[in-house]
Symmetry: C2
Subunit: 323 residues, 2 copies
């Protein structure tokens, strides 16, 4: 089957429309007229086989996740999705796989109101890159550098389930399938927090924000550095009751604080905004507070607290190329 | 070396500025304010190892080409480059390779006035995806569907050198290195025809246009189909004098008409525009003419002419997944 007809057949089902789109897939470029007065929020993320997903995961979930992790970046700025493009490298033209992948991608695209306007399908090891664009009012983006000393630190929902799901996928022989299902679902079907991000941005309720892709310990540290503050995080919020019962407390910390792939938002706000945010988004939890660097401190960082006392936590992180 | 510092170190040298860029690399999204009244032309292309380039090619050339093939899509619409993002999958953190890749990418970015505003660096088989955006006046894009019967068919420069270069790279033992150099350079350093594309679009001199990535036979057929016309191409323009002397005429046709990777433009215009275009761009050649479908013809197609007579040409094309 020729590349052109492959693209035509499956991606044309994904497309959809966005305002201002004059020309979609099929020419050298798409043509799009941006709306007056808005800024574009732009992000690009790649998923590779055996790095970001496993061969055993359904193609439908890979299509979902490839778009979801990108939408999550838009959510973290408070932007409204508008268009995306998709680069798909496939080792062979497996039509069944492609159909399912496109179905997963298209369902989330429709649900989040984003149009696929272009892309590329090439032969190569399985790899997916998505570019997303979102709209936002100038000055309203939730930047990492916007946290203030005194801000509460919040997360959009509990953490660690995706990391548990990955463990279960990697150890199929010792996994209770029924118990594993919801955790694997968290891993394979992350839910980008678009509504929350837009709420925080539009009402100016949130200050700094990012999405948790690499784990809280590593991601929250980005906010600390960009905003030059210290994050005091209270470990009592991470008992891990929602995680499998066989985890030790240390393992539960590891999953929640250093496990990746949650794609929840971590954000800061003034305490006066909390009640209004939680009325709209009851899953939102406070996990700590930002403070100024003390006079003897040089480096912005995270402080883990137990009963008000700073404790040392040994967390294993994950970084590409960190061999 | 951690992913973050890798990106910081090399990609930050590539960046540069574009008008309206409020926030570049380093947050969940870049933030960019599009200029009022312009359209965006958007394209995304992937290069994979052993499909689009060979391991023996210098990293500098791969960086150049990854951006060049995308800029070529902007050229084909007549758009002016504004920003790009880069997704780079690397099997390991080879700093020397990365430094050279970024140098090749950055040099072309600077030369063409495009800013790198974001991207992703991941672990995986070597693969590069670039998204580009260009600006264009509404209604001025050189679409494939704009060719008219009676239009002259032009190419921006002679063809086939890149395909010869690929042959030479694949057969190093029988290749005369000195003779091969300019051909391999055409393959590894395509030169996106941005000025010509913008000229054709701004002065409304060009009608349909596309860039020749897969070969004239396959690409020009896209214009025929989109514009519902027949292309009469005169083979006398393809004697192949500029190609290696040991090629037969049939081999020279193959390289020029079905060889990929030239990244020249193929476009149509009214004959009255030709002289002005050639004054600015003396390499531009006429290769044929568009005509209406005859009453007995159903399908838009290309007709190869020799001394005014249609001839059958056997050309081998290349399409991904066409196993």
């Amino acid at each position: 089957m020729a590349e052109f007809s492959l693209i035509e057949k499956y991606l044309s089902r994904v497309t959809g429309q966005c305002e201002g789109l004059e020309l979609g897939i099929g020419d050298d470029c798409a043509l799009w007229q941006p709306p007056a007065g808005k800024q574009l929020a732009l992000s690009m993320d790649t998923l590779n086989l055996d790095v970001h997903f496993l061969a055993c995961s359904p193609a439908h979930s890979i299509g979902h996740k490839a778009l979801a992790v990108n939408l999550s970046d838009l959510a973290a700025m408070g932007a409204q999705p508008v268009w995306c493009s998709l680069a798909l490298s496939l080792p062979d033209a497996d039509e069944l796989w492609l159909a399912e992948f496109c179905r997963g991608f298209a369902e989330l695209a429709k649900q989040s109101g984003i149009a696929l306007i272009g892309g590329d399908t090439t032969s190569g090891p399985l790899s997916i890159t998505v570019q997303v664009a979102g709209l936002i009012e100038p000055g309203k983006a939730l930047r990492r550098s916007n946290a203030l000393a005194g801000d509460l630190i919040c997360i959009s929902d509990r953490l660690g389930e995706a990391a548990c799901g990955l463990d279960m996928l990697l150890k199929p022989l010792v996994t209770d399938i029924k118990q594993a299902k919801p955790f694997i679902k968290c891993l394979e079907y992350p839910n980008p927090q678009l509504q929350l991000g837009q709420y925080l941005s539009e009402r100016a309720a949130g200050h700094a924000c990012l999405d948790l892709s690499d784990g809280l310990a590593s991601d929250l540290a980005h906010i600390c550095r960009a905003s030059k503050v210290v994050a005091e995080v209270d470990l009592e919020h991470f008992s891990g009751e929602h995680l499998p019962k066989n985890l030790t407390q240390q393992q539960a910390y590891q999953k929640q604080l250093a496990g990746g792939d949650d794609y929840q938002l971590c954000f800061t706000l003034n305490a006066s905004e909390l009640a209004a945010v939680q009325r709209q988004f009851p899953q939102v939890q406070v996990i700590g507070k930002m403070r100024q660097l003390a006079s003897h401190e040089v480096t912005p960082h995270i402080e883990w607290l137990k009963n008000g006392q700073a404790v040392a936590l040994q967390l294993k992180g994950f970084e590409h190329f960190s061999k």
